[in-house]
């Protein structure tokens, strides 16, 4: 495991006139509503602990009021916590002086906003190069760099327009280009795609995934949309009433929701699109390793199925049916050795395939599909029954 790049430890945020004064009550676990009624303070975030690895897309998701926008503003200290630590690359961001904080924001971390946060009085190229202008970099140099990013997000030719002349999706591309232009390793995205209509949103998601494959940034992505979270996230944290209720990889969240709240969330998700073959397949119990057909038949009877997956030293070879083998033995056509013509015409699937893509093949075939990895080894088997079980939310 790599060292986490960002660590949040015991972070609390209380809003009100004198947040420090109520921290004892908060530590004692006072109820959020009781705190508000008794003291007039609002508990925004409660005991947040997260570690985020370099190069991953970490999604923080929650409904409105869950504190997710408050939380993301702690990463670059747009909001200061009431208590707790924020450690980035081993440095406690809370200890930074005002000047160090400016430097930190200029070089280490950048941000994309829900309603874009573009400067309406600046042109696109001025907006994209804003972070560099703040660093007092020469105009020529920053425009050169900005032009490259404008090109990368597909907005070439728009550089002298004003934001109001662009559509929502284009404006958010400007926001993204601006964030990438400072070369910060950490990218904060606060509901970056929520204000866009669904088609543009999924386009932007694709673009982000594509860019991320090239750039390998550490991205913290806030969303209220679980489909988006599952699509983008390497890991997902679910926030409820200012507390983290579950952190895990997308399939963990889907298949093992931590509580009723998460379960209610994941109920409406399109699982076929969110899950991969790997997460649904069964271990390859019908593996046949026998060297002769006779032994293979014995093995097959042993696991009480009429089919098997023949695996030799070179890896997965093919699917065989009991009936075919028995006929072969009876007719004594080619002796006891394996031959290609015994194999059934069954496609293989890869462990990383999205479930949705393999559903047709699964339904078309009587036998469960063999799951074969890049090295040609049999990793599992995928049956119709397993798919229907997962998709029907059992």
């Amino acid at each position: 495991m790599t060292e986490p790049q960002i660590k949040i430890e015991n972070l609390y945020k209380v809003f009100g006139s004198n947040p420090e004064s109520v921290m004892d009550l908060v530590h004692d676990g006072i109820d959020k509503n009781k705190l508000l009624v008794d003291t007039g303070h609002t508990l925004g975030l409660k005991d947040i602990n997260l570690s985020i690895n370099p190069g991953e897309i970490f999604v923080i998701m929650g409904l409105s009021g869950s504190g997710k926008s408050t939380l993301i503003r702690h990463f670059n200290r747009l909001i200061d916590p009431t208590a707790g630590k924020l450690i980035i690359d081993g440095m406690n961001v809370m200890d930074l002086s005002q000047d160090e904080l400016l430097e930190f924001r200029r070089h280490r971390i950048s941000m994309v906003f829900q309603r874009f946060g573009l400067m309406p009085h600046k042109t696109i190229i001025e907006n994209v190069s804003f972070g560099l202008a703040v660093q007092k970099i020469e105009k020529k140099e920053r425009y050169e760099k900005a032009l490259r990013w404008i090109d990368d997000v597909g907005l070439s030719g728009y550089e002298d327009q004003y934001p109001s002349q662009l559509s929502g999706g284009q404006q958010q591309r400007v926001g993204l280009a601006r964030a990438l232009c400072t070369d910060a390793e950490i990218l904060l995205m606060d509901e970056a795609f929520s204000a866009l209509d669904p088609l543009i949103r999924s386009e932007m998601q694709d673009q982000l995934i594509e860019l991320q494959q090239k750039l390998n940034k550490t991205i913290i992505f806030i969303t209220h949309d679980l489909d988006e979270a599952l699509r983008l996230g390497d890991r997902i944290a679910i926030l409820k009433d200012g507390e983290v209720v579950q952190v895990g990889e997308p399939q963990d969240i889907l298949l093992n929701p931590a509580d009723d709240y998460v379960e209610a969330f994941v109920k409406d998700v399109n699982r076929a699109r969110a899950l991969t073959v790997e997460t649904v397949m069964k271990a390859p119990v019908n593996r046949i390793t026998a060297e002769t057909i006779g032994e293979a038949l014995v093995q097959m009877r042993g696991f009480k199925s009429e089919y098997g997956y023949y695996v030799s030293d070179e890896g997965y070879q093919g699917v065989v049916k009991q009936e075919t083998l028995e006929t072969a033995v009876k007719d004594d056509l080619v002796g006891d050795d394996w031959h290609e013509k015994y194999y059934e015409d069954v496609p293989t699937v890869a462990p990383g395939d999205i479930l949705e893509e393999v559903i047709p093949e699964t339904l078309d075939n009587q036998v469960p599909l063999p799951v074969v990895n890049d090295e040609g080894e049999l990793e599992g088997q995928l049956s119709r029954a397993q798919i229907s079980k997962v998709l029907s939310n059992e």
Binding site: E103, R105, F113, G117, M119, P120, F130, Y162, L188
Partner: protein, 299 residues
């Protein structure tokens, strides 16, 4: 006095006490102006020198040149031939009707008042926008400045500085500065919080935020404030003339006391002409500096 007199008649302070209060305050202030009047007057000397210099410049410059410069500014700001022609016509008429010198005097004091109001008002507005406490202190002061009858604050100013240009200038600024302060404050407070957050998130410091984001985005409001300030300054011209500010106000004052209707009308119309020129120029400039507000809003 009957038993229930307090019920029908307001139980007011004793006359002698009231008189004593007034005497003490007036005496105190008189003492203050006797002791510090000269020091304060010398503080304003540079402004007075500038005011006199600028007035002489406008009066002594060839009238054709002055008209050419004014029209040049008008055309440069508005790019409108119609307005430029109107300005030429009204300036020629003003000169022909014998009001050229007074108009130049008024133009000079209004210009100086406006520049000073902007120079003082915008920083105060910025201060107000940055702190709720400053806002809660300054707002009532602005309310007083706008509603207190001008004659009332003319009294202490005249007591302190005598009659002349500087007291007139102070009176005009007191009356005219509130709009630019209020609208600077409002304009900055109305800047989209997410845009400000973005500036902060990319590491902009206070000055970069102020000059790069807040002031440019508050500019439409600030310009509206400046426009209002100019209009109010012009409205004060007549009152200022009562304490010795020369210009278009004095003939108006003379017209009031002697019932010369035509004299009053001519000079009044000259003030209106100046007002229209200032108004159109400042508005056109404001509009042209906001090019980005145009464009297709296709959300």
């Amino acid at each position: 006095m009957s038993e229930t007199s307090w019920f029908t008649e307001f139980p007011q302070m004793d006359r002698a006490d009231l008189l004593a209060i007034r005497k003490t305050l007036d005496g105190g202030y008189r003492e203050f102006s006797r002791n510090y009047g000269e020091a304060i007057e010398s503080f304003f000397d540079p402004i007075l020198a500038f005011l006199v210099w600028f007035e002489k410049l406008l009066i002594n410059a060839p009238w054709l040149l002055v008209i050419a410069i004014i029209v040049g500014i008008v055309y440069g700001a508005t790019r409108s031939w119609k307005l430029s022609v109107g300005v030429i016509a009204s300036l020629l008429l003003i000169g022909y009707l014998g009001m050229w010198e007074d108009t130049m005097r008024t133009l000079s004091i209004i210009t100086v008042c406006t520049l000073l109001s902007i120079a003082l008002g915008i920083p105060i507005g910025i201060l107000m926008a940055g702190s709720n406490r400053a806002q809660s202190i300054i707002t009532p002061i602005l309310d007083i400045m706008q509603t207190m009858p001008a004659f009332v604050y003319l009294i202490p100013v005249v007591m302190l500085l005598g009659i002349g240009k500087i007291p007139g200038l102070i009176a005009v600024i007191i009356y005219a500065i509130p709009p630019v302060i209020r609208l600077t404050n409002l304009g900055i407070r109305l800047v989209d919080s997410e845009v400000m957050e973005a500036a902060t998130a990319y590491g902009a410091n206070r000055w970069q935020k102020l000059f790069g984001v807040q002031l440019p985005l508050a500019m439409p409001n600030i310009m509206a404030g400046i426009n209002q300030t100019i209009m109010m300054a012009l409205a004060m011209v007549v009152i200022a003339s009562m304490i010795g500010v020369k210009g278009l106000g004095q003939p108006v004052l003379k017209a009031i006391t002697n019932q010369y209707f035509t004299l009053g009308l001519f000079n009044g119309l000259a003030i209106v002409a100046l007002a229209i020129i200032f108004d159109r120029v400042s508005q056109a400039y404001a509009k042209r500096s906001q090019r980005h507000m145009g464009g297709a809003h296709n959300d």
